[in-house]
């Protein structure tokens, strides 16, 4: 089975971020960058398919030079190959442009399965996966919480969590999936895995190498103009040391007079 996993390098969500004073982005000095959380689940899903059915796992990222590190992690987890798609024209690309660049890499490799994360924890967009499925002309299932592949029938059965329901879908392969965290528990890279990954070559491709003309990538339809801090929240009233009855009274008064839901 030929499996492609798309991944992105993002700031570690454990750490605070600093917005640049001019609001054009975040200050990356000293920032810990990691593989997007959901992409660890995507990589795990890819590796499990290879373990079940054989084949290869190729990890691909669109990003700057530093995004190699996230690809290195995928290799250390067990991916066979990795490629970084890097081009000045992709700086400031919107999600549809990223999808087009990924598609140019993926199409000639005729995958059976393409796996993305549900969303990236920096952009929080959840756009690249379904957009990529469209450009690749593959059927899709997003935010899947369960994946069973029947290679004989070239079909997958997946579960998606909707609001208040679970949807069971049958999807013919080749297909694109985006994954929810409940799909699996990502493995940690093993020490031999890390050593092996260090020796592996990460292919770097620009638009020309992908066979994409600047016109085909186009210009961004959606542009991030600025970042601002979310409106600060401050502590309100604290009720401490009250009897439960008095605490309840305070909550009731709050719900009716301040929040107006009672």
């Amino acid at each position: 089975m030929n499996i492609i996993v798309c991944l992105k390098q993002v700031p570690d969500t454990e750490a605070p971020i600093r917005i640049r004073p001019d609001g054009t982005g975040i200050d990356e000095t000293g920032l810990n960058l990691v593989m997007n959380y959901y992409d660890e689940h995507a990589t795990e899903a890819a590796l499990r398919l290879r373990e079940q059915f054989g084949g290869t796992v190729t990890a691909v990222a669109v990003g700057p030079e530093r995004a190699r590190e996230a690809l290195r992690q995928a290799l250390a987890m067990g991916a066979d190959e990795a490629a970084l798609l890097r081009d000045p024209q992709l700086d400031g690309a919107d999600h549809l442009q990223v999808a087009r660049a990924l598609a140019a890499f993926i199409t000639p490799r005729t995958p059976d399965v393409v796996i993305c994360g549900k969303l990236s924890t920096d952009d929080n967009a959840a756009v690249v996966g379904p957009a990529l499925a469209e450009v690749l002309d593959l059927p899709q299932a997003t935010a899947i919480a369960r994946l069973e592949v029947d290679p004989n029938r070239a079909r997958a059965t997946v579960h998606r969590e909707l609001e208040g329901a679970v949807e069971v879908l049958e999807v013919p392969l080749p297909a694109l999936f985006t994954v929810e965290r409940s799909l699996n528990e990502p493995r940690y890279p093993s020490l031999p895995g890390i050593m092996k990954a260090k020796r592996k070559e990460i292919a770097v491709m620009d638009l020309a190498a992908l066979g994409l003309s600047p016109e085909e990538v186009g210009s961004p339809g959606a542009v991030l103009e600025r970042l601002t801090s979310p409106p600060g929240r401050t502590a309100g009233v604290q009720v401490n040391g009250a009897e439960p009855e008095a605490a309840v009274e305070a909550i009731i008064t709050f719900l009716s007079e301040r929040a107006k839901v009672l």
């Binding site: 999600h95 609001e163 339809g221």
Partner: protein
């Protein structure tokens, strides 16, 4: 924006389930009306055998309903919905298509955008038109920042809006005209919906709830979640949780609120036995009011709670439920 200076045409994709139009649809119709000014607001209803929507959708602001009633749309599928909307847009695209941020909406919008060459922005919490561009704000970096995104002129725009941020507009006497449209004979739907299993819930969906009662590790075990259910029933609220109750299997995964769970913005969020980790705040700090019940006076959740109650949730919750019931009984 002054009336008459609005967008010429705004479409709203109707979210419906079991014959009922979901609340997000009304919220989007209200926003569409505001952005259209004197322009046209069109509700697009896709389905099979759906009840006559003209009155309900008209009252919330639709001038017209485009109804595509086709057996192939009986269940939501990405390709069925994308084909229907692409077909309608080919006849005359709107300036803007609004879609609610539901599991279906998030699945559909980017695919449709890629098909139509439209610009797309998701998770919008505000939407305005300025200098011919659509300007949206949206939470980013797990709510540690708010991004302002600009979709320039000369292209169709698709905006996916978060639920519960735009107010439900007051009802009017408007009745929308209904126009039926056909789905092309040849469309390809490769996925098959095997089944949709409802997760039994006694309370309203999290993303639509005005009030959310949420429990954390402080609940100690699944046997105590009925304390939250009882309070939620009394308040007409939904029940959610932080991550540990999900990871421990006390509650289903779709309860989870936060970075790896749902983003909610209810009028009131009542956090019970939740410490207030940044990853939890990522999902709920957009709530209008936050009430926290925690026995640790130094719990970080108190730094953003509008009302913080230091106490034992096992003593407070049952009494609170009774007090709410008494209050409701009085009127």
């Amino acid at each position: 924006m002054a009336a008459g200076a609005g967008l010429s045409e705004v479409w709203v994709l109707v979210a419906h389930e079991g014959g009922a139009v979901r609340k997000i649809t009304s919220e989007l119709l209200g926003k569409a009306r505001a952005l259209a000014g004197g322009g046209r607001v069109v509700a697009v209803l896709l389905g099979a055998g759906v009840p006559d929507p003209a009155r309900t959708l008209g009252r919330r602001g639709a001038d017209e309903v485009i109804l595509v009633d086709d057996a192939r749309l009986a269940h939501y599928t990405t390709e069925g919905y994308a084909a229907a909307l692409a077909h309608l847009a080919a006849e005359g695209p709107p300036a803007l298509l609004l879609i609610g941020s539901t599991a279906q909406g998030r699945d559909l919008a980017p695919r449709l955008a890629a098909r139509l060459g439209a610009a797309v922005v998701t998770d919008c919490q505000s939407l305005d038109v300025a200098d011919g561009a659509l300007v949206a704000t949206r939470p980013m970096y797990t709510r540690k920042a708010i991004g302002t995104v600009r979709l320039g002129p000369g292209q169709m725009w698709i905006a996916v809006a978060l639920p519960a941020v735009f107010p439900v507009p007051a009802e009017t006497e408007r009745t929308a005209e209904v126009r039926s449209a056909a789905l092309p004979a040849e469309i390809r739907i490769r996925t098959r919906v095997v089944e949709t299993r409802a997760i039994e819930r006694e309370t309203v969906p999290l993303t639509e709830a005005e009030v959310i009662v949420s429990g954390g590790r402080g609940l100690r075990g699944p046997e105590n979640f009925p304390l939250l259910d009882a309070l939620a029933r009394a308040l007409g609220a939904a029940v959610g949780s932080s991550r540990p109750p999900v990871d421990s299997g006390w509650v289903p995964h779709d309860y989870e609120i936060g970075q790896t769970g749902k983003t909610v913005s209810p009028q009131v969020y009542i956090a019970c036995g939740i410490s207030g980790a940044p990853q939890h705040l990522a999902g709920m700090s957009g709530s209008k009011f936050i009430v926290a019940i925690n026995k640790d006076p130094n719990a970080p959740i108190f730094q953003l709670a509008d009302l913080g109650v230091v106490g034992d949730l096992f003593e407070i919750l049952p009494r609170l439920t009774e007090a709410v019931k008494r209050r409701k009984a009085v009127g």
